[in-house]
């Protein structure tokens, strides 16, 4: 066991962080609100670094790294408040040729499409698999998003599209995992912003971070972030052990579709299979909660300034809110976790002992 980042992984994180700081500073990111969330040239630069082709195999034109690495990269993207349909574009790499790809669950009625003005294609997940809808086929009504960096539009009826895959569970798990990674990054970014302000802002002739009310809030933010990060990295490792590059089958198991069960005939056995679901749902719950609560605490630590558009605190919180209801509500994930609880569930007391 070595559950610490490898040197390559550290270098990968540093590289993405430097990229974000250099090319996607906060002013650039905020500016993307004016072009539907994606600027083609910048998006191309991002794609060129390999962030979307990270997991696709080298034969598919990808980098052939693992899900753990994808999580690390998406954590950094979340921390940098990077907008755009990141999850869909990564999952679509090697599957479709489009450059900017949305991904969503098929709604039972009218639905909300994110980044409607900039996507080339929309992948849609339902219990029969994954479908590609050409963006030109979408008839989108404008709507005002709570998050300026997650523009949305309404579609009355989502076209059926063209079927790409019949597997849905694996796609759902991976999307949940990547959303969690973005949210761990959001939790971290919000915490960093709050701590920096707590050191700099003075009231009553002291930095406000000297007051326990603020200091302890920051400590709680850090704790949530670290615990969620551990859950995320764990999920990444489990994904790589069960369905990463080089692992033959895709035993992603059941996640949130009705009546679905653990994938039969999985070479790793039901235990690891259920464990993947549990790891991913667990990471989801903690990451969403950390991003939401750290976003709120970041606003609160900033006091009145936290309630202004100018300070970035609200952007972390709004992005957290935009991500949370995607790919199964937190209530559904809690239900799935509950189903996994039991002394004999995995034949042992703790996962992947």
């Amino acid at each position: 066991m070595d559950f610490e980042l490898s040197d390559d992984q550290v270098a990968l994180c540093d590289g993405i962080r430097d990229l974000c700081q250099g090319r996607f500073d906060i002013d650039t990111v905020r500016g993307l609100a004016d072009c539907g969330g994606v600027d083609r040239r910048l998006w191309g630069e991002l794609a060129d670094t390999g962030v979307f082709s990270l997991v696709a195999s080298e034969e598919e034109g990808g980098v052939g790294l693992g899900w753990a690495e994808a999580g690390l990269v998406f954590e950094q993207l979340g921390r940098a408040l990077m907008p755009g349909p990141l999850v869909g574009t990564l999952l679509a790499a090697g599957v479709v040729d489009d450059e900017v790809v949305g991904f969503m669950e098929r709604p039972s009625g009218p639905g909300l499409v994110e980044y409607p003005d900039v996507i080339d294609a929309l992948l849609v997940l339902d219990e029969h698999g994954v479908w590609r809808v050409d963006a030109a086929e979408l008839s989108v009504e404008p709507a005002q998003s709570v998050d300026p960096l997650t523009p949305v539009g309404r579609v009355a009826v989502l076209p059926q599209g063209q079927q790409l895959q019949s597997d849905c569970y694996g796609w759902a798990n991976r999307a949940v995992y990547l959303c969690s990674a973005l949210q761990v990054g959001l939790a971290a970014g919000a915490r960093e912003l709050a701590v920096a302000y707590a050191k700099e802002r003075r009231q009553f002739d002291k930095p406000i971070g000297q007051f326990q009310a603020v200091k302890h809030t920051c400590a709680d933010m850090y704790s949530r972030e670290e615990v969620a990060r551990a859950a995320l990295y764990y999920a990444g490792c489990v994904m790589d052990a069960t369905c990463g590059p080089g692992v033959a089958s895709d035993p992603s198991g059941y996640l949130y579709f009705e009546g679905s069960v653990v994938h039969p005939g999985d070479p790793l056995g039901d235990a690891e299979c259920g464990e993947l679901v549990r790891a991913v749902s667990g990471a989801r719950i903690l990451a969403a909660s950390a991003a939401d609560r750290n976003g709120k605490d970041c606003v609160q630590v900033h006091g009145g300034m936290g309630f202004t558009w100018e300070v970035d605190a609200h952007l972390y919180l709004k992005r957290a809110w935009a991500l949370t209801p995607q790919f199964g509500s937190l209530d559904r994930h809690a239900d799935r976790m509950a189903d996994s609880v039991g002394a004999d569930q995995f034949g042992r007391g703790a996962p992947l002992g």
């Binding site: 009231q203 009553f204 609160q300 006091g303 936290g306 202004t308 558009w309 709004k318 209530d331």
Partner: protein, 400 residues
Amino acid sequence: MDIRFTADELAFRDELRSWLGAVLPTLGDPPERDDWPGRREWDTGWQQMLYEAGYAGINWPSEFGGRGSTPTEHLIFLEETTRMGAPYVGMNFVAQLHAGPTLILEATAEQQARHLPAMLRGDEVWCQGFSEPNAGSDLASLSTRAVRDRDHYVVTGQKIWTSFGHVADYCELLVRTDPEAPKHRGITWLICPMDLPGIEVRPIATVAGSSEFCEVFFDEVRIPVANRVGDENDGWRVAMVTFSFERGTAFISELLGTMNQLAEMAEMARKSSRNGSTAWHSAWEDDEIRREIGRLQAEYDALWALTKRVVSQAQRTGMPGPGGSVFKLYYADVKKRMADLAHRLLEREALVLAEGGDEQTGGDMAASRLYVLSLSIAAGTSEIQRNIIGERILGLPKDR
């Protein structure tokens, strides 16, 4: 201890109800959120109607043109106007509830005669110039300078969080007149006309994208000494004196509006359907959601009872009980829980801000989730409220 209204109180209520029933249907549609001239007309028009009907200055003494009502009548007034959907006090807030009471207690007869009747009629909109970028929780450290130049103060500095600063006629302004004195001792309270040269007002965009707050910049603004209320360097006391007008009524409209939102949310939950663990069902059948609605109702009922206790204490003693800080602290927490619940109920729909929805008094639950962030910040953060309760009520030692 009796929560029932007396015959007189019921009579006041019934008279008010019938007046509201007659005039509210004549009002037409309220203006859009960002239509500032329209909002000014709407808010001050309502103030004028109140004035003509004898409800203006409900808590002002009758010798200053107010109605001189009891705290309970004030509560009834707020309850009935909220329940029946009358306009909110809006941009009359500072004049009616802060600057007006201050002038009543501290101003000269001349100052009173000039401003109080105009405030009651809705002819003057006031704003507040207290907070500064570096004087928020620590308000007394404010640094906007006023230098005496014969019969004027020359004011330079910056204020922030000035609601409706861009439409106001006057500002109740705190300035530092003695930078050498201890921080509470060198402050002066001034009436500042907002059309003086050297004043620049810039709206602040909030997280909700609205702009009712402003920054106000003062660059050698010459304010007549005759506009000073109270003595020079005694402005901190003057600013605090308004609290004696406080009778626990500050959050009544807000709370009742929130209770209505909860009722709407319950309706929505009863009608909605969710993909539960075993089948689709209404959100109401979800034990967690339904009980959280029930628990929130318990909290709001209790806060409403607390309000009535504070108002009753104000009625008895002339001073509200210590429930004010408790209310604000507790309410901010509970209302955040409600906003979270709304998001949970709305699922992905929570991403969309309703067109023209009002984030404060219902109608737009997604925007409300942004608005509630301000409840633990504005008018004294929750951290400051906890200090106040700990130190002033419980007698724990100060740490600053």
